[in-house]
Structure formats: C-alpha cells, structure tokens
Amino acid sequence: MKKHVLIATFVLLIALAAPLFAQAGAEVSSTGFVPSKEIEWIVTSSPGGGSDIFTRKISDIMVRENLVSGQTFLVNNKTDGGGEVGRLTVSRVAAGKLADHTLLTFNSGDHGPMLKNTDNRIENFTPLAVMAVDKQLLYIGEYAKYKTFAEVIDAVKAGKNVVIAGSKGDDILTYEHLVAELGFTQNQISFITNDATSAAITSVLGGHVDIVMSKPAAADQYVAAGKLTPILALSNSRFTGNLASAPTLSEVGPYKNVENPIWRGVVGPKAMSAEAAKYWSDALKAVSDSTAWATEYIDKYKLVSEFRDYVAAKAYMEQFQVEYLKSIGKTK
C-alpha cells in the first residue's frame, strides 16, 4: 500500500515538473567546431564583482544572440587560493571535448598575482580575446567621515589614518600607485583586501571602512540607490553619467593623475583545439560588435571597448607577462 502511494507521489512530481523542461532544444550546424554540450566558464572572483558581471554579461549575450547553438553556460566562481586553483585547473584540462567547452575569465588583476605567486604562465592557456579596458574609482558610503578626497588628504596630513577597502589583484596595484603619488606611507592610508569588490562594498555600507575602491560595474547599483558616492576617478579624465561628479587626482591637488588600466579578457585551456579557439574568438568578436554589449556593458559600466582577437590577444598577454615579470624582478 505504502509503495503505491510512493510511486503515485513520484509520478505526480514528474508531471508537475515536466513543463519546466519543455523549452530545451538545440540547433546543429555542420562546419568546423560548434558547441555540443554546456560550456563551463570559470571565474576566479565571487559573484557580484566586476569579473563576474563581465562574464555573465558575455554569456548572456551569446545565448540571446544565438552564438552557441542553443547550449547553456555554467558559470563557476572558483575563488580558492586567490583564484590560483581555478586557473591551474583550467590550464590542466586535457585535450578533447571538455577542453573545447571550457573558458576562463582572465584580466590583468588575475595575470599579475599568478605570475607573482605561482609558476603558471600564459603559455599554459589559449588566449581567446581581450574585450575591454576598465578603471577604478574611490567611493564613500552614507556614514563617511570625509565627504571629498581633498578632505581625506587633509585628514591624513593631520595625522589621521584612512582605510580603503578593495578587491585583490589590480586594486592593490592601483592603491600602491595612489599612495606613492600622494607621498604617504601604506600605514597612513592602509588597504584591506577582500575576495571580491562586493565584500568590500559591504564593509563600507556598514560604516566600518572609510572608502571603497571599485570599478564602475560592481558599484553601479549602490550609486543608483544613493548608498555610495564617487569621490575620486582613478583615471586621466573624468567618467561620464552618474560618476561625472568625481574629480581626477590632478584636479584635487598638485598631483599627477593615477590610472592603472585593467584589461579584461577570456582564455581557454592550453589543450583547446585551434578550431575551437577560432570559434570562441569569433563569437567574442560578435559579442563585442553587438549593440547589447555597447549599451548594457561598455556604456553602462563606463569601460573602454578594445577588442583583440585570439592572435592579437596572445601577443598582448605575452607582452604584459614579460613586462610584469621584469617589474617584479623575476626572470621567467
């Protein structure tokens, strides 16, 4: 008797759930490489951060513009070991179907720490594209002690200590440039590294930290809701839209502007086939050319669109690697 009830429940369950799966279906093309399974896209930062938004926007556009023949993306935020584990995993994917269906979001903030802390190099990946260049701003929250960056500088000169919260990688580099340009020590203005910008924003919203460093994308919602206000553009010129009120450093005082452009790109495992690399590079080019990309990403989050295909991206990332290794005194 009990068994019958169980079976009946199970059948009912399936019947209830069936409409949910009704829309699946794929189109098949016949030339060269075409995605034939879901694509795993690894991001080495937490959801809500800049890299995550970048990834989800691209995958979203690819699905909407039908660039992946009906397949879906599985975005996997792998933040272990500062992202090194995720990068290592991708670099080691063996040749075959999986290698052709694995992507990794890769930007200068990932590349730098990887070169500094590990022996993993860009040669272990297949660069697919560079999509855009991003920059940061400093923001204050509602409970901020200082309302402008000039006040921050005065406070530090008066012996106060100021704390900036930010993400790892490129944010640290930008912070170091900023402190050096201001002529302060890293004790006078200190920096708290978070796993992603979203965590840094949390600490500013709660009033625990004075200032947060963020790229426009991760802070966008909070600026719109009036919870964050931009006070300094880390750029050679002001941003536009609701970020236009933030001055650059040279406007604040007798300093040079601090700008540390971050390139945002996509790579695959080293073992990815040449046909797949070409396919993804073309698909990313199509995203870069789409109006959705221009309006929903580049304009909205105030980036500079700068597309490089898989050949150009390879040269670009290798060049970055050579220069970065030289700057930290490593030979290879």
């Binding site: 995958s59 500062g82 790892k168 640290i172 590294t193 949390t202 600490s203 009033g207 625990h208 930290v209």
Partner: protein, 507 residues
C-alpha cells in the same frame, strides 16, 4: 501590515501550477542532494542553476530557494545514521544525533527531532525575514570586522566544553585545527602559506573532504577493526509509529529550537557567516540552558538547537541577499549569480523594482518548509533501515560514500587524498582518546576569525580599543571576558562559601 499584504501577494504569485511544481521538485532534490555527503547546498544550487536559465526568474528562484532550504534537512540524515556529516552544518548535528541514534537506540526519534527542529527553526527564520527583512539586512551591516571577530571568539569558547575530560589533548587539537586552516593563500596579503611549492596546497585543505575523512572514514577503519565483534544489530521493526517522539521529547526540543531559530536567523544575516557557523553558535548557546542530559551524549536539546539554527540561518541569509544584493554565504553567492543571469539586478532596489519576485520567493520558503517536513517525515522508516545493514556490507558502502562525497566537492583526486589521510589520522587520534570535535570547530571558524581580526586591526592600526568601539562589539567583548572569567569566579565563590561554613562551624 504592509509586509503581510506583500506576502499574500507573494502567495498569489506562488500558487500557479509551475511554481508549486518547482517548489516540490526543489524540495525533493534538496533533500536528496543534502543527504548525499559531499554535495552540499552550494554544489546542489550550482548544479541546478544552468537548468533554470530557461524558466522565468520567479519560478527559477523559487525552485533554487526550496532546494537550498530542503538541503538543511537532508544534511542531517547521514550525520545521525552513519556519523558522516552530509554538509558543513551537519558536523554539529552528529555530536548529539549519532549517539542518540546508536547508543540510545532511538534513530527514528533522532531523525524526527532533527526534522521538527528544522521546521521550527525555519519557520522562525522565515517569519523574522518576512517582517524584518530589510531591517535585518541593516543589522547585518552593523557587523564589521571587529564585531565579527569578537562574536567568533565568543563561539570558540564553546570548544572548552567540547574537549572532554582531557583539556591538554583538546588544546592540542584546537591548535592543530587553526594551523591546518591557515594553509593556502593568505587572502589579505595574497602570499602563500604552508604550500611547500605545491599548487594544491596553495588552495588549502578542502573542508568537506577533511570533515568526511576525520569523522566518517576514520569510523570505517574502526568498523573494520571491530567487525569480528558481533554488533547488536537493531532487530526491532522500525516503523513510522515506532519512531514517533513522545510529548516529553517534544517539550524538550521546543524551546531550544525556538531560541536557536532566533539566533540562527541573525547569524545567517551576518556577512560571510552562513549555516555552518550558525549551527555551532546555536549549539554553543544551548549549553547554559537546562539540558536533561549533558550535550554531546545524545541530548535532544543539543540536536534540536543546531538543526534549528542552521535552517533559520538559511532563511536569514536571504535578507541581505534580497535587500542589499550581498550574499551571506557561498550558496547565497551562487543564488546572486543566478539573479543576475535572469536579468534581475540584485541590490538595494530589488524589493522596489521586483516585489513580485522577492515576495514570491519568501512565500515559497513557507511552502517549502511544510513540504520538506512532510516528505522527510515520510522517508524516515526507509532511512532507518540503514542501521540494520550488517557491518560487512556497511563498510564497503560507507567507504564508497566517503570517496564519492569527497571527490564530488570539486571533482579532484586531491580532495580524496585529503579525505583518506585525515581518515587515518582521525582514527589514530580516536584510538589515543582524542576527541575530534575541537579540531573540526577550530578548523571551521579559524579562517573567518583570522580575516575579520586582521581587518579589524588594519582599521584600528593595531589598537585593541576597536573591540569596544561600538555597542555590539562592546557587548560581545564583555560577554567574552565574563565567559573566560566564569570558572575562576565560580572557584572563588565556592572557596568563599566553604570558608564561611568553616568559620560558622568554628564559632
């Protein structure tokens, strides 16, 4: 009142054929995923997320919400029956759940206690979420690094009474847990620690594999050693009726569940805390209250407190997620990713812009809570049959579960290696009369404590006064000091009383 209306609106959204189907499906999958060791809510939600891209966002989040929620029920099953925690929060469940099921011979009651406590905790959490959602999120924000650090220290004092009869052994394992937890990339400075040039060690010790090994696999080894000894197999017919709790049991579990539910909800709201910490804190908070049996020996109160707290935390975690777009846990982070994928902008404007979505989700949690209780109640008679499986069959089965569970966390053989090694070490420790609870507790809490404490010291330039800089921090600090001084004060009081008695006698 306004919230109540919005909630009713949420129920209107919920009661469509698809949405109820999604809730039921989510609840069933959640129970299954939760019951499988190694695949916690994080993996479950992550695996299901791509499936939901084609749904409308409300249906999708309802399904994932129900899955996340039901997970907290399922995780307790293997902890109670096999002493293998299905997920992080269940580490606490096994402290009382396993003794209750085996030593006391009440497996059905243990499972039912965990179900009812989960239900009560969840109900408390969802009610608080309904009426105080956005406010709750603001309270969460008030917890900065300093507040979190003191709260975690306060929780860690509970290690003191988990140590058992030998404090030195307990201290050694606590230290070992902290050291193991510090392996891998230092998240604040980005420098590697104890990695010995190995890429995998750079990622640290994977939590699930470590726990499955220390608790579960070590037990397999013990079973192998003891297999010659005939076990007193449970031969009574285990039925639904036989596993009913008595009214007395219910009165024992009710208050701990409500209390832990409130505590768990607030812990769930805190940034970076999550269900595992909630479980520990809820359990630790039960200690000062009246317990009929000492915690850790199969006490209903202890089992109820931790199960209630982790379910409440799952509900609480939705507050910052919905109100501010801040994920309170790893699973919350994946859900947040889902929101963005469906084209919703999580953040301070979500409740205003997408009320249908936000309240539909909250309404679905109510429904999921009830559905999960009914389903998990129904499977109890089938589950407890596991206990009558003979040892010679149980050993290979549990071994497979341990291997699959540790492998599936992040699909790597490294995790399996960690599981086996920690299993062997765990076995040796148990043989030498070490209790592994302090090791696990410090391993779970140390990374959170470290990052919060170091952030606090960066903010305060190394000054200790930051721990008294806000009302919340001061309250916790004072509590912490009182807790630490309590044994000393009690000792002095007892001595004083003895002296008085003596002097009276003399006079």
């Amino acid at each position: 009142m306004e919230n109540l209306q919005a909630l009713l609106q949420g129920f209107v959204v919920l009661f469509t054929f698809e949405n109820i189907g999604a809730t039921v499906l989510g609840a069933v999958l959640g129970l299954i995923v939760g019951a499988m060791p190694g695949i916690g809510s994080l993996a479950g939600v992550a695996l299901l997320l791509p499936l939901t891209y084609k749904f409308n966002p409300t249906t999708a989040i309802i399904m994932l919400g129900a899955l996340y929620y039901a997970n907290m029920y399922g995780g307790a099953f293997s902890a109670i029956l096999l002493n293998i925690p299905g997920d992080g929060p269940a580490v606490v469940t096994l402290l009382d759940g396993y003794p209750m099921a085996t030593k006391k011979g009440r497996p059905g009651q243990a499972l039912l206690t965990s179900n009812i406590a989960s239900f009560i905790g969840g109900a408390v959490g969802i009610l608080i979420l309904t009426f105080m959602g956005p406010l709750l999120a603001d309270i969460g924000l008030k917890f900065g690094p300093a507040e979190m650090a003191v709260l975690l220290l306060l929780t860690m004092t509970s290690i003191g009474w988990l140590m058992g009869e030998n404090p030195v052994k307990g201290l050694i394992l606590t230290m070992a847990g902290i050291m193991l937890a510090s392996m891998g990339m230092d998240t604040l400075s980005g420098s590697p620690r104890y990695d010995f040039g190995n890429m995998y060690l750079l990622g640290g010790i994977p939590f699930t594999a470590f726990v499955i090994g220390t608790v579960g696999f070590s037990q397999v080894i013990r079973l192998m050693e003891e297999r010659a000894i005939k076990s007193e197999a449970i031969t009574d017919k285990l039925t639904l009726r036989g596993s009913m709790v008595t009214w007395h049991d219910f009165t024992r579990m009710f208050m701990p569940s409500v209390r832990a539910g409130v505590i768990g909800t607030f812990v769930g709201v805190l940034p970076g805390a999550g269900a595992t910490s909630a479980s520990f804190i809820g359990y630790a908070a039960q200690k000062p209250f009246k317990n009929e049996e000492p915690l850790g020996t199969g006490a209903i109160e202890g089992l109820a407190a931790c199960e209630s707290a982790n379910n409440a935390a799952a509900a609480g975690a939705f507050a910052p997620l919905l109100a501010l777009g801040i994920p309170g846990s790893g699973t919350g982070a994946v859900l947040l990713g889902g929101l963005m994928m469906w084209g919703l902008n999580p953040g301070p404007l979500l409740f205003q812009n997408e009320p249908e979505f936000a309240w539909g989700l909250i309404a679905s949690l109510f429904l999921a809570n009830i559905i999960t209780l009914v389903i998990s109640w129904g499977v109890i008679p089938f589950l407890i049959k596991i206990l009558s499986v003979p040892t010679k069959l149980l050993i290979p089965i549990v071994t497979v579960v341990c291997f699959v569970g540790s492998y599936s966390t992040d699909n790597s053989m490294y995790a399996v290696l960690v599981m086996v090694i920690s299993g062997v070490v765990g076995y040796i420790l148990q043989k030498a009369n070490y209790s592994t609870a302090p090791l696990l507790l410090s391993f779970v809490l140390a990374p959170l404590l470290e990052s919060n404490m170091r952030k606090a010291f960066i903010i305060s330039q190394g000054k200790l006064d930051i721990f008294f800089s806000s009302g919340i921090a001061t309250t916790f600090s004072v509590l912490l000091i009182l807790f630490l001084l309590f044994p000393l004060v009690r000792w002095i009081l007892i001595k004083a009383r003895l002296l008085k008695v003596k002097s009276k006698k003399i006079s």
